[in-house]
């Protein structure tokens, strides 16, 4: 299935891209597995998450715009956004 990955703010700045589409081959892929595959095939994303982790910043995962547990099963065409803590206002 195809999953669109979207990055925002400091995550996209560190990764060097704003969006990508990845192909994952599993029938019951949970978010955690998709993130693992995305980090493998998109080295910039892996670097960004590691650098932010070293600075004590935990990224947030949204599936189709909604904060989602890592155990959530994804479907073909889902969009996963990887964001830092939001900073409106």
């Amino acid at each position: 299935m195809r999953i669109r990955i979207k990055l925002f703010s400091i995550v996209s700045d560190l990764a060097g891209f704003k969006e990508a589409t990845i192909e994952v081959n599993c029938s019951q892929c949970v978010l955690e597995e998709v993130i693992r595959i995305a980090r493998q095939v998109l080295p910039g994303l892996d670097k960004a998450i590691k650098l932010l982790g070293e600075r004590g910043v935990e990224v947030v995962y949204l599936v189709n715009g909604v904060k989602t547990p890592l155990s959530q099963i994804l479907h073909d065409g889902d969009e996963v956004a990887i964001i830092p803590p939001a900073s409106g206002g």
């Binding site: 979207k6 925002f8 703010s9 400091i10 700045d13 600075r55 910043v57 949204l62 189709n64 715009g65 909604v66 956004a81 964001i83 830092p84 803590p85 939001a86 900073s87 409106g88 206002g89």
Partner: protein
């Protein structure tokens, strides 16, 4: 019906206030609170050139609407509007507008303040602060991380 928008241009606050005023004063509500958040000119002793706001659309606007609807359903609240601007904004420019009509006035003030705190952390909106000592990503807790 609440008004919740993310805009890349300056809205007409007067029109939003007038619309809520007409609806709520006719229903007997006695107070309307308007909060306007501006881009600060100095942060940590450094001059701010601009704030670059980015929103994850359409989801950021949906979260604003959800917050506005939640408060508009509360006992004593007549109507709520939340407008957040995106793009590059200079110091002194308006970035956020919250309008609450409620009865009593203490509720209008309290609801406006609660909405402000939620808007700062719930909708996927992000900002880059460009200032005299460099560019900083601003994170939800107010923490700043130098760019690059």
């Amino acid at each position: 019906m609440v008004y919740a928008r993310i805009l890349d241009s300056k809205p007409s606050l007067e029109e939003v206030v007038k619309s809520i005023e007409e609806k709520c004063s006719a229903q007997g509500y006695g107070s309307l609170v308007v909060y306007v958040g501006y881009v600060k000119g100095v942060v940590d002793g450094h001059k701010v050139y601009e704030l670059q706001y980015e929103a994850y659309m359409p989801y950021a606007e949906r979260v604003l609407r959800m917050i506005a609807e939640e408060y508009a359903r509360m006992e004593g609240v007549c109507d709520v509007a939340i407008i957040h601007r995106v793009g590059a904004l200079k110091p002194g420019e308006e970035a956020l507008y919250i309008v609450v009509s409620a009865e009593p006035r203490s509720k209008a003030f309290r609801v406006a303040e609660e909405i402000l705190e939620r808007v700062k952390r719930e909708p996927p909106i992000f900002k880059l602060e460009r200032r005299s000592d460099g560019d900083y990503w601003v994170l939800g807790d107010g923490r700043r991380i130098p760019r690059g």
